[in-house]
Subunit: 900 residues, 2 copies
Amino acid sequence: MATKHVYHFGGGKADGRADMKTLLGGKGANLAEMANLGIPVPPGFTIDTKVCAYFIEHRGKYPEKLESQVRSGIRRMEKLTGKKFGSRTNPLLVSVRSGAAISMPGMMDTVLNLGLNDETVEGLAKKSGNERFAWDSYRRFVQMYGDVVLGMKPESKEEEDPFEVIIERVKKKRKVTLDTELDVDDLKSLVKLFKDAIKKRTKKPFPTDPQKQLWGAIGAVFSSWSNDRAIAYRKINGIPDDLGTAVNVQAMVFGNTGDDSATGVAFTRDAATGEKRFYGEYLINAQGEDVVAGVRTPKPIEQLQKEMPKAYRQLTRIYKLLEKHYRDMQDLEFTIEDGNLWLLQTRVGKRTGLATVRIAVDMAKERLITREEAIGRVTPFALEQIMRPIFSPKEYTAAVKAGRLIAKGLNAGPGAATGKVVFHADDAVARRAKGERVILVRIETSPEDIEGMHAAEGILTARGGMTSHAAVVARQMGKTCVAGCGDLKIDYKARRFVADGKVIKEGDAISLNGSTGEVLAGEIPTSPSEISQVLVEKSLDPKKSEIFRAYDQLMRWCDKVRRMKVRTNADQPDQAAIAVAFGAQGIGLCRTEHMFFGEEKIQHMRAMILAEDEKERRAALKKLLPIQRKDFEGIFRAMDGRAVTIRTLDPPLHEFLPHEAKEIRAVAKELGITPKKLEAKIEELHEFNPMLGHRGCRLGITYPEITEMQAQAIFEAAVKVKKKGIRVKPEVMIPLIGNVKELQLQADIVRDVAARVFKAKGAKVPYLVGTMIEIPRAALTADEVAAEAQFFSFGTNDLTQTTLGLSRDDSGRFLPIYQHLGIYDADPFASLDTTGVGQLMRIAVDKGRSVRTDIKLGICGEHGGDPASILFCEELGLDYVSCSPYRVPIARLVAAQAVL
Amino acid sequence: MATKHVYHFGGGKADGRADMKTLLGGKGANLAEMANLGIPVPPGFTIDTKVCAYFIEHRGKYPEKLESQVRSGIRRMEKLTGKKFGSRTNPLLVSVRSGAAISMPGMMDTVLNLGLNDETVEGLAKKSGNERFAWDSYRRFVQMYGDVVLGMKPESKEEEDPFEVIIERVKKKRKVTLDTELDVDDLKSLVKLFKDAIKKRTKKPFPTDPQKQLWGAIGAVFSSWSNDRAIAYRKINGIPDDLGTAVNVQAMVFGNTGDDSATGVAFTRDAATGEKRFYGEYLINAQGEDVVAGVRTPKPIEQLQKEMPKAYRQLTRIYKLLEKHYRDMQDLEFTIEDGNLWLLQTRVGKRTGLATVRIAVDMAKERLITREEAIGRVTPFALEQIMRPIFSPKEYTAAVKAGRLIAKGLNAGPGAATGKVVFHADDAVARRAKGERVILVRIETSPEDIEGMHAAEGILTARGGMTSHAAVVARQMGKTCVAGCGDLKIDYKARRFVADGKVIKEGDAISLNGSTGEVLAGEIPTSPSEISQVLVEKSLDPKKSEIFRAYDQLMRWCDKVRRMKVRTNADQPDQAAIAVAFGAQGIGLCRTEHMFFGEEKIQHMRAMILAEDEKERRAALKKLLPIQRKDFEGIFRAMDGRAVTIRTLDPPLHEFLPHEAKEIRAVAKELGITPKKLEAKIEELHEFNPMLGHRGCRLGITYPEITEMQAQAIFEAAVKVKKKGIRVKPEVMIPLIGNVKELQLQADIVRDVAARVFKAKGAKVPYLVGTMIEIPRAALTADEVAAEAQFFSFGTNDLTQTTLGLSRDDSGRFLPIYQHLGIYDADPFASLDTTGVGQLMRIAVDKGRSVRTDIKLGICGEHGGDPASILFCEELGLDYVSCSPYRVPIARLVAAQAVL
């Protein structure tokens, strides 16, 4: 017996199954699956993918006996439809489509209405009672067949399609503009003209024998597997060339044969909101493309119940069956031909972030899927979406249409923000104080701008990447941010910028779409996400928000599943409180230097920097001590017993000094020194490569009194809070360690100060001393370092910079080219380079544990909030990830997914 | 039987041996060894180091039976000397000295002349016939014993020594100025006054019983092991605290008992020149310290032959025996007491670099040592010394005495240089052209200063460390350099600097001692080393230079032994020629960018940088092509068939642009653009961390046409030179690779260009394409990289910066503190951090070889010329090290030592 290559489906059964995708392609397997479920699909058969391989290998030949198997397939279709292939009275028409195991949308060819010729068209006309429909079908077939099978389709887009040229000519002659205005005679003449054109070009008449037509179409589909477009698509998407395509031959059904015919699309649940309701639209006496084209307005699916109650009942039964069978929301295509319902396609329906979350949670509650599956189905992007304030879609679209889109940068901080333009942090604060909403526009931001960023609705910068200062701080603050918007020409002096030829002055309103990176002139209204309204603003009753309920349920399931803890990077009590609301279990990184940027604090900090000797320095530090202590108290209270990792001073000191002449004069005056002296200090502190310079623990080692002060502030605050009955667990983290001796020196100070404070205050708190792993040498010598460190926290921002030898502030000039060339798949500052940086992390984890089995391991770089990176952290077995407050839910989700 | 703790020596035999240093200390073991050799050493015994541990553990108590062993030791000394401890007629006097296994010079205490009291002093007077000698010995003993044993020595330097106060008082009363002017009565009264002072302070009389004195001194020596100074010294030098000291009790001998007594020091060979001759000096009727003190002028050792022929003959026999026994040049101390020769000490003699080389070579030729031992004995520092031009020592000393030493910086480039101060590279070139010798003084240097540095005799900078631009380039050029001389206040505008309060103006002469880092006002004459005179200047007949002959012999032996090849870092034909003269076997790093700093070349380079598009850029590159080709031709010719590794463009482009306003105007004019446009470009190219920025292969990837031009120049030059009958082996090296895909892209260009050139020119040359390993990620993914790279060259300068997260240009601010605190033992930019950077190198070597077993491995960072780093390279099994031309002999030596 010959090998089976043809798989029938229809009439309530099929040879194939859903799990035979490799053999039958996705479409063929799904049609078989539907047929097996007893769902009415137009009958047909699939020629398997092995034939494709054979066809290519044997240069257009088919395996033995394929012809007879195809013939038997046609016979079976004839039996099931009661029609006959080539019949002049009741002709069977078929579609011939490709269908590979992996979908390659738009890459390969399709022929519809196959089986028509000058004789069968008459049968179709008579049978359908619709001559125009019959001739229009014939016209479409000849055109499609000419294009796909007979090579009439122009190779380049510049060439005109010969058939379209003919149609235009006829329409012009007939003085009509729409195809639908052509009458039966026009269509007949078109068919003739098409055939003539084909004959002229191919030197052969158009094939009239349906069998010949069929084999021509089958061959064209197999050949299309090897066309240039398909090959290129497979190369880009990593699809193997030897996979091959199947060919599906299926009986045509028509929704446009009269008023008891219809066609429509439907979703088993609401794709926008996730609500559990059957949702869709249809058109009576129409073809599928009419629903999409939008010429006629389709009717909501509910009306079908009245118009075609039988079909509607059947459809309802089928959609429920399909959702239950496929265990996910389905997107259906159906046609009703002469009152008979046919399902043409079912697939998993696309949906918004909101619908993603809600459907996943609902289905788990309905026990359609497991909770684990529900967790797995929510993409981080979906969760992110439901947490963003958004623009009203209508008004946004209107604004874009009105030409108000003036620039596009990086979508650095998600969300929507609208407000008046300011160029300086001070102005942002001042206007905010007056109740205005502002957008801070800077060439780039620096730590001095923190308060201004805090005051602003959104931040727009002309320079800097996804992990630039502006982007990182914005995400941590949950601010919308468009960064690295190179089209902006900012003129600080004139207090204006130019973009897209438009001049935007200070005080003019703009809107930032942080999800797309788009910048629009003028205001567009926004509102915070419902989740924020419940958790942060507490302005919404959780019971009144379906979104919140779905979110909350999902998070609770995630928390049960995940192994890794989720902490947050927060420097202020209010940030910490938000993070806790979002589920943070501790602080993984509290940057003490951010505390120094308050109005009064920075003055003492500057005095400390300008001190001539240790004595003066200690005097300035003494003034900073109570301020820091108060900061830590606030943090400890907000975290209410959760672990708090506090990093000692990290940035180079010059970051605390002013850089512009005017400011230098002002600060000098404040400090009671000459501007010249201040300038000299700034010059003295200048570094060629500040990233690799005098910062991190190097500050604490050269000025141990700074570490002493910080340790004192930490432990005094901890003891004070403890005495109020709140548990405190400080973890003191020494940054930029490259050598265990650095850590020893700093840890000794911290432990000495702790002992002194505990003795003086008569109370103790448990604490840990550990280190950032952010320099390759620290990772390489992690066994030595772990002897001294009670925990490691991977500072993957700096670790990426040093491991890749790449400055994140400067790499914007060539990193886009690098990504374009495929040197790095993703921005290594956004998603962990697991090959390089990850290798060092693994070395550090292994070496660290080899010396201290219970060493606590975490990550506090930007990557702590990146889904791919979180998966890698689970693989490494880290104890926690730490990310910005607004990323905490994402991290909770992904940490759970990582376990599954 | 009690454990043996006391080891006798003297009378031609000893209980101990030279290899018992841990037990007997260095001094005790050596005295035993000499005694065993039959050499007359004053008899005595050593109390072993175990007693020290016991003494400390038991808080001042001794092991059982020690007392009886000591007593027996004294009895044996009495027998051998014929004197008696405590005798009133012929007293035995002893010295009590510490002696640890590792020498701790000046850290611990000594007591001489022990055994004297009011009675035995009379015996000594009578026996020696020299009452003043006896009382002076007694006076010294009381003073020393008071200080060391009875705690009279002041604890701080500010306090006055009570004995010195008494001496001054007596001298004043007696109206004399020198100790030697005091007569017997004065000395007697001093002894009394000393004793009174001791009694007053300690409330106890001075011990008169020699046995008591002895135990007091032994206890003091053991206690001194635990004094603060000794503990600090051990901590700094890494000597374990539980090593303990031994105590040596030895009979005193006196060279000042009369005219048949003498004392002296001698070397078995000339310590300055290495010449094989007995060399030393002595004084008749004198004590050891008199030879050193320089009050009396000692006589050359030859005269002893006439004055004391018997002792001289004996001494000659002994020095030959000792040199043969110890197989190295010895430094002897001897005393002749009443015509009897006693050897007090022998040790390996210190010597100059010249003597080191010559003695090692001579001894190997004499078959006293093997050739391998000879190689092992020459320290890199010694070899370095003989290669430096030096100041005339007399004139130098005179200049220092005259107060001309004005500053001290880092001894960054060895040698001596003298010339007129200039502050700008242009001025250096201009003055040099006029035949003047100049010293280039800069706050720091940059690649723009290259020609000025070349024109200068030496370079002096106010900033930068041992691997700053100035230091690296200077060493490569063989220029003297004092770097990081922070005391300098340089005022470019006024064209002067201030140091040590002195104003040095442009045109004033200064002298740099690159070996010490000293800067002196005024000129001091210099001359090049004899080796340079032979090899480079060819002004000296090699046969006429003993130094050269020793050097040459040593190098030939090294070349036979070593496994690693030695290459050089050179960018110009003249540098390459010098390196070849010094034995370089190839170029390991030719920095193409250094070639761009010529007057005419930089103009095209700047035009290339300012190009608006690829077309303009290619036009500028076309002009650079013939210039580069010519450069490479010169290099290939100079290297005459040796391998040449050429690195493609590496530094960030902004390094080629001017930075000062005046220069910007000039360059803009030259380029025919506005200064504003040039400024805009400079601003555009500005980077926060240029070290991690747009440089290395990142340039070649964003501007592939640059790599194309460089490859074309390389291969066209190679083919041209080959056609002249010279073999050529270019190795094209792509810098700053972090990802194999970077290398692939660049290697493809190089190989394409090579094929094109070979086809066009009808000739081929063998070549390799490889990469620098200078970014941690490259090392971590070396298996991937090796699939593409035919060789790796470790760029340890940048690898150190990235692995340690340390900018070499900025670390000067804290690295000295780090070294002081012991965080890094050595400057990691001077000597490879084998723990961190070395670990990455090992990973790269292992992974590289796992993929490509025959991969060629080398090092071309500054560490390639550092002895400790070269040893590590041998351990890794690298194929070659590459260093600056003047370091090549050092590398040849150390590469040989590494094998042994």
